[in-house]
């Protein structure tokens, strides 16, 4: 069991000094526009993942006319209490402490308190290009598999060199397939590792996604999820060698896992064009909860779920079934933000 039970923020964004108590299950932060609901979500993001979800420039997260911010959170993790301190002063370094002991390398903290945040801008996972969906998959797998992250980074660097080699051929008006093969033979095992892991991830979340969707929508809708990749049929080395001529003409690599896509379909058409706004939001939430379930299965701990502007675009029925889903045992602690409090009844409400 993982949850945050107390958050204390000082000089953080719009908040001067604020302390909040959370319950282990569903918490609803309610309040009008501009009262700082999202900022509290972001403070939790800082404490778990050492950075902001919304603005990567730390200095811009300091309250106006102040020169530092401090965040304190106490978390319950597997029956142990962990006090996390995060401090940042203008012009200084980030300071992160666990139980009063400062980390030498801040990155070592990542992974201790797994967290999933969903914000309105994440609609791009449904409506944006394939890169958004690859990022969604990559960020999940990077949290559960360190080898995946290393392989992906190595793959990207190799591809950069391969592309540079293609441009060098073009500039010098030469071609040497043995040089491309040099990169391809090194890329092939990385390509296979990343592809196999993504397929494993896809197969795991597919049924979860469909179940979550039905749970929120309260009915069956013609939605589907497919993973598109040329590597279901061919090996990277064969696919890449077939495309030498095309790669040369275009000046970049046209084969590889950087071309894969997880397609979201509605009536067998792209959901970004055919699903309504509310259906798109339902797809996104169903994916997020499936992501949470996947991470839990891999690391045996339920991540905290932060849902910013949770009911945006959803009708009343869907809002009610979403709350029911969030209160179930499928998810752990959930912290939501919302402008009106009516929709919540017996939940733990935090009014700002």
């Amino acid at each position: 069991m993982l949850y945050i039970n107390k958050l204390h923020v000082v000089n953080f964004k719009s908040h001067q000094d604020k302390e909040i108590i959370f319950l282990p299950k569903l918490n609803a932060i309610c309040g009008n526009n501009g009262c700082g609901k999202t900022n509290l979500i972001d403070a939790i993001n800082y404490l778990c993942l050492t950075k902001s979800y919304f603005n990567s420039i730390d200095v811009q997260n300091i309250k106006e006319n102040e020169n530092y911010f401090v965040l304190n959170g106490s978390f319950m993790r597997k029956a142990n209490e962990e006090h996390i301190f995060f401090g940042y002063a203008d012009g200084g370094k980030k300071v992160l402490k666990k139980n009063s002991i400062a980390y030498e390398k801040i990155n070592e903290h990542i992974g201790l308190l797994p967290l999933i945040t969903n914000a309105p801008s994440d609609a791009a996972i449904v409506t944006g290009g394939s890169i958004e969906r690859r990022k969604f998959i990559d960020s999940t797998l990077s949290q559960t598999d360190a080898v995946y992250l290393v392989s992906l980074m190595k793959y990207n660097k190799m591809m950069e060199q391969r592309n540079a080699q293609l441009k060098l051929f073009e500039k010098n008006n030469t071609f040497d397939s043995s040089l491309l093969l040099l990169y391809d033979e090194q890329i092939a095992p990385l390509n296979k590792y990343v592809h196999d892991k993504r397929i494993h991830f896809f197969n795991a979340i597919y049924p979860l996604f469909l179940m979550n969707y039905v749970a929120i929508a309260n009915k069956n809708e013609p939605i589907n999820l497919i993973y598109n990749s040329e590597f279901k049929e061919v090996d990277y080395l064969i696919a890449a060698s077939r495309n030498y001529r095309r790669d040369m003409a275009l000046g970049y690599s046209t084969s590889g896992i950087h071309k894969d896509d997880m397609e979201l379909l509605f009536n067998n058409q792209p959901a970004k064009k055919w699903a309504s706004q509310g259906q798109q939001k339902t797809i996104l939430l169903a994916l997020r909860i499936a992501q949470l379930q996947y991470i839990e299965a891999e690391i045996k701990i339920k991540p905290i779920l932060l849902l910013d502007d949770i009911f945006d675009r959803l009708d009343n029925t869907r809002c009610k079934s979403l709350i029911k889903l969030l209160k179930s045992d499928l998810v752990g602690q959930v912290i939501t933000t919302h402008t009106s409090e009516e929709i919540f009844e017996n939940e733990h409400k935090i009014n700002l």
Binding site: A146, V150, K154, K157, M158, E160, Q161, R162, A164, Q165, K167, L168, N172, S178, L179, L182, Y183, E185, Q186
Partner: protein, 201 residues
């Protein structure tokens, strides 16, 4: 910045071209030099002139040398059947300082890195293949940096040398001497485990 003299400005600009030297350091160096006596300064400039005119590279291994063939390549006490491939001169000096290697060298002058515009044709690879062709060399030791570009180059060389009857080895990678396991990163430790060696007392 405004300089009181054009001669000084020119000197500063030349110093600033050196790696790791910015305009301010360049000025400090130039001012330091003009403060010293003229004789010393001329000695300094002579050595630079000599560097430009007289520096030569060994015809065989491409190491810097005063003669056509460097001291290492021409030494009788060196094992000519063992050849160590390195990226640049500094690596030769580093390995020489270990006093553990008694073979000869081959300096590539870089590693394959298309992003920097360096392809295999710009490196001293053809001469390496010619040296291996002669047949005296029995073992090639690849001592390249443990970077992606180093690995790619090692991979390329091993492929090019496949037709020849030579043993190709690579310097081992893993835990540093005196290092503690718990402080090694996962990739280094993982590699150390997979490329473990037989234990000998």
């Amino acid at each position: 910045m405004n300089y009181p003299s054009q001669v000084l400005e020119q000197a500063v600009n030349e110093f600033a071209k050196l790696p790791g030297i910015g305009k301010k350091t360049a000025l400090r160096l130039a001012l330091h030099l003009i403060k010293r006596n003229k004789q010393e300064l001329l000695l300094f400039s002579d050595s630079l002139k000599k560097l430009a005119n007289e520096i030569r590279y060994c015809n065989l291994c491409h190491n810097v040398s005063d003669n056509e063939v460097c001291n290492i390549c021409s030494s009788f006490s060196r094992k000519k059947e063992q050849l160590c491939v390195v990226e640049d001169l500094r690596d030769v000096m580093a390995i020489e300082n270990t006093q553990q290697y008694f073979g000869i060298y081959h300096v590539l002058g870089g590693v394959i890195n298309p992003m920097e515009g360096i392809g295999p044709e710009t490196l001293n690879l053809e001469s390496l293949i010619r040296r291996v062709e002669i047949g005296e060399i029995k073992e090639i030791i690849l001592a390249l940096n443990a970077t992606m570009e180093g690995d790619t180059t090692a991979f390329y060389i091993s492929k090019k040398l496949q037709p020849f009857n030579v043993k190709i080895s690579s310097i081992s990678r893993g835990i540093a001497v005196g290092g503690e396991l718990e402080y090694a990163d996962e990739i280094t430790l993982g590699r150390a485990i997979t490329s473990r060696v037989n234990y000998g007392v």
